[in-house]
């Protein structure tokens, strides 16, 4: 195989192969993140990347180029590597977007990987997202590299001398203020003109503490063991789906607050109402009964919270990880999992 590759590259067929590769750099379709939207523009009629012999293609087996479109997550990194290995010789990788370069806006996220650590990269295209022009320039640059054998920078910036006499701008310092002993209030009562809400609160009082927190928003706090019966009661009142499942971590108080945001599609006057059914569980034994059989719409949301907070929803049949990669950190959204802090120039 080695010999064969050597022959095709350097033998009498070498120049033909080079020429062929140059004008058929079809990138494999590996839309990894939001930069993909600009990539699609680059190959659509506005910019028409096909002019220079590049067009997205579905299968890795017949392509020579991967365009990594932005962020690579832990799960995706494996896919990127496998795809890269499946490509025939020669293999090229272009990375577009700030995310692929150095993490971009997600630089301190727990789930991101730098593509250059997974596969060898030929060119980076900075931007968030880069324009289609920039992407096409990247492809052109790769063609030029194929011709000349060396990679070149496609832009150079002239050096700008600092102007004298101007007052230096004060650099923003790290202004982040984070409370050390935060106090979490979920249900803060608010006076609003809302007849229906007051009626509903009256009805819900038997289940737990019900307060109006804003117009169309009711917070209903119940004991964890009453969660299911309260949910059933709400279902009988006409609430039929869950819009969000949320967990708030309060390490100082040693508790998790588990919230279900419940609303209705089938009863017209209840449509705007959002009920925040919540209860508190201990942080040491994070277990709560699942509502996924009462409201099937809560199923995936519960699985997600199980991943992100390590709260167990007893009764949800799903075990193991759903959203997170197998190698991602355990329960990353808990407050004791810290991300790397940014450093300000002025600090």
């Amino acid at each position: 195989m080695e010999e064969f590759t050597k022959f095709v590259r350097g033998g009498i067929l070498g120049p033909i192969k080079k020429w062929g590769t140059k004008w058929s750099l079809w990138p494999v379709h590996l839309v990894t993140a939001c930069c993909g939207a600009e990539l699609a523009h680059a190959f659509a009629c506005g910019y028409d990347g096909e002019r220079i012999g590049a067009l997205n293609y579905g299968i890795a087996r017949q392509t020579n180029l991967i365009i990594v479109e932005g962020a690579i997550t832990r799960k995706m990194a494996r896919v990127l590597r496998i795809t890269w290995e499946q490509m025939p010789d020669p293999k090229f990788v272009i990375v577009m977007g700030a995310c692929g370069l150095n993490g971009g806006i997600f630089w301190n996220g727990y789930n991101l990987v730098k593509p250059s650590e997974v596969v060898p990269v030929e060119f980076f295209i900075p931007g968030c997202p880069p324009t289609p022009e920039a992407l096409l320039r990247g492809i052109r640059q790769l063609q030029i590299k194929l011709d000349k054998g060396v990679a070149e920078n496609s832009v150079s910036f002239s050096e700008v001398k600092a102007e004298k006499g101007k007052k230096p701008r004060i650099l923003p310092r790290g202004v982040k203020k984070v409370s050390l002993a935060p106090c979490i209030v979920i249900a803060r009562e608010k006076e609003v003109e809302w007849e229906l809400g007051k009626n509903l609160c009256e009805k819900l009082k038997v289940l737990g503490r019900a307060v109006i927190t804003a117009r169309n928003r009711i917070a209903l706090k119940v004991d964890p063991d009453k969660l299911r019966s309260s949910a059933m009661k709400l279902r009988d009142l006409g609430f039929d789906h869950v819009k969000s499942v949320n967990v708030v971590d309060a390490p100082n108080e040693g508790k998790f607050i588990v919230e279900y945001w419940i609303s209705s599609y089938s009863v017209k006057e209840l449509m705007p109402v959002l009920i925040n059914l919540h209860s508190e569980i201990s942080r040491r034994e994070p277990k709560i009964s699942s509502l996924s059989d009462i409201f099937p719409s809560a199923d995936y949301l519960e699985r997600e919270m199980q991943d992100l907070f390590g709260v167990e929803f007893v009764g949800n049949p799903w075990k193991g990880r759903f959203l997170l990669a197998p190698d991602a950190p355990e329960a990353p959204l808990r407050k004791d999992f810290k991300l790397q802090e940014e450093v300000y120039v002025g600090d």
Partner: protein, 406 residues
């Protein structure tokens, strides 16, 4: 149909471990014992964004689909807890980049609700225009991806050609093709002048004209109709039960649109209709979005013709140009929990911000994006369909993994 039992032992693949399936081994073995198969669709597939579907088929009829999302999970919620409120604006736009204005709007409205900021009329109208432009852009994007899914390359080119006009409008109004971060607490960053608005107004007609040819080529194309009609049907009850959102819910006959149910910005002052359909199949889901585009075009025109005069930012904030950092760096929300619902292009978008009242970063920010909400309904719609229709159903939902995974 008569079934024949063949006694050929079929074993699960040996390299099961290397596939990193999130399901237990017993499930795979059970599948093979019952003479069924697991087909892995993705993560690298012809659509936009990546996710894996673990499809259990009997013959070529889909029995069950287990999603394996998270290929674009970029920890937005965690990162948001570590940044200033104002720094989070670009962050929350990233999950759904073509729908950036709606995501931006949802987040900013949560801050405004907490701080009781009144937004001036003019800003509301500008925001509405941006939101609707992004809605059209997203629907066109999804139409194009649907076309790719069912192998219709021309159907891909047309919407992207039209999208160029949307991008151009956004560039003229905000300065960026996609992620403009133009909406800030209290209003918008700058005023938009008459000339630009005029241009956008004219662009809506250009878009309409081009949509006509797109209709001829793709929307009314018999092959497209044949691929989408009666596949992936979600009845009204199912749609409600599984919490489907947005145009996909309306395609199943539920009249729910956050813009009507809980009006925000200028939607109350404009005349427009909720688009619904009753069939709940792939074509209905597509048509609802197509018709929404014309509603959005009309909303934009109304906004531009009745654009009120006045300030573009609330007096409580004051002039932001030049002192953006001073104005916004030190926002501290009063303690409590604030939730807003926004109708993003693909459906209901929920933002919850929990503040402790002392920090200038959110204590907890929860985004539930439409993609994540209708994923369950999408999986249910696949059941009982043929494997070959999977792509068409996927396309008809316009599922965009970066948005769903956040």
């Amino acid at each position: 149909m008569k079934e024949f039992h063949l006694d050929i032992p079929v074993e699960p693949p040996k390299e099961l471990e290397s596939l990193f399936l999130p399901i237990p081994r017993e499930y795979v073995e059970d599948t093979y014992r019952k003479d069924e198969f697991l087909v892995l669709v993705g993560p690298q597939h012809p659509g936009s964004g990546h996710m894996r579907l673990i499809v259990r088929v009997k013959g070529d009829i889909i029995q069950e689909v287990i999603p394996d999302p998270g290929y674009v999970h970029r920890c937005v919620e965690k990162i948001a807890e570590n940044r200033l409120y104002i720094q989070n604006i670009p962050l929350v736009e990233r999950p759904s980049i073509m729908d950036s204005a709606n995501f931006n709007l949802g987040y900013v409205r949560a801050i405004e609700a907490a701080m009781d900021i009144e937004v001036p009329e003019r800003a509301k109208f500008i925001r509405t225009i941006l939101a609707e432009l992004c809605r059209i852009g997203t629907h066109l994007y999804d139409a194009a991806i649907l076309a790719v899914f069912i192998g219709h390359t021309t159907g891909f080119m047309y919407p992207f050609g039209i999208r160029e006009l949307i991008c151009e409008s956004l560039v003229r109004m905000t300065g960026a093709r996609f992620t403009s971060s133009f909406i800030v607490p209290g209003g918008v960053r700058r005023d938009v002048d008459e000339k630009t608005l005029r241009w956008v107004y004219d662009a809506t007609f250009a878009i309409e004209k081009r949509l006509k040819s797109f209709e001829r080529i793709f929307i009314k194309n018999p092959t497209v109709i044949a691929r989408l009609r009666d596949v992936g049907v979600l009845s009204k009850e199912e749609a409600i039960k599984f919490g489907v959102v947005g145009p996909f819910l309306r395609a199943s006959g539920v009249e729910y649109d956050t813009r009507v149910v809980e009006p925000y910005e200028a939607y109350e002052e404009l005349t427009w209709d909720i688009v619904t359909a009753d069939e709940g199949d792939g074509y209905a889901r597509f048509m609802v979005r197509v018709n929404e585009v014309s509603q959005s075009l009309s909303i934009i025109r109304q906004c531009i013709t009745s654009m009120p005069d006045g300030s573009y930012i609330s007096e409580q904030i004051g002039e932001v140009r030049g002192n953006f950092f001073d104005k916004f760096a030190d926002i501290v929300l009063p303690a409590g929990e604030y939730t807003t619902l926004t109708e993003a292009a693909r459906g209901t978008l929920l933002f919850t911000i929990v503040s402790d009242g002392e920090s200038n970063v959110p204590y907890r920010m929860r985004i539930v994006s439409p993609g994540w909400l209708y994923l369950r309904g999408f999986m249910e719609a696949l059941k009982g369909e043929r494997l070959a229709d999977l792509q068409a159903i996927y396309g008809s939902f316009g599922y965009f993994p970066p948005e769903a995974d956040r």
